[in-house]
Symmetry: C2
Subunit: 105 residues, 2 copies
């Protein structure tokens, strides 16, 4: 009975731990989009082809849980929610950029 997603194994290396933060069908894309500007739920839904509400919700929740994104209710003008990169999230930017820069592999 592996308890659902409890940290079973302490990661044996940091790279592995970080890869896990971004594992899943939509998390990498959601994270990448967050590099440019704050995210909004309905934008993600429109912009990520093949996505669906539940999956976007899950991706956002999990990125929040691991501390890469922060959810903020914007109580102004057209009342809505935005997700921001946290400091921790920002610390992954260079790594993401390096990935992007790797040539055709």
């Amino acid at each position: 009975m592996t308890t659902k997603k409890e940290d079973d194994q302490p990661e044996t290396c940091k790279a592995q731990a970080i890869l896990k933060l971004l594992s899943g069908k939509f998390k990498p894309e959601v994270f990448r989009l967050s590099l440019n500007s704050p995210l909004r739920f309905s934008n993600l839904l429109r912009e990520i082809p093949g996505s669906n509400k539940q999956s976007i919700t899950t991706a956002l929740r999990e990125l929040e849980e691991v501390g890469l994104l922060e959810r903020k209710v914007i109580s102004e003008k057209p009342l809505h929610v935005e997700y921001y990169l946290t400091t921790k999230g920002k610390s992954l930017i260079p790594f993401f950029e390096q990935l992007e820069s790797i040539g055709e592999i």
Copy 2:
């Protein structure tokens, strides 16, 4: 052949594609171990806690399929199999090292 995993979506960014190469429960660890020295099936089985034959097989096959590892039968002394990093595999070393170097996040 394990023809699941139809390439559904062409990746929208390279980072995502690369993350996918290393996605799965044991692939990151198997890949990391390959950075030091050639891998052997039975060593992996012993060294990776919680692993099992089938999962190791799958990880090795998939890393082979995407061209990160190469399988070699060593027809000498105590006849066995070794898995080596390919050139493509080696191109990911700096990225892996950068990940390792990210501070406590």
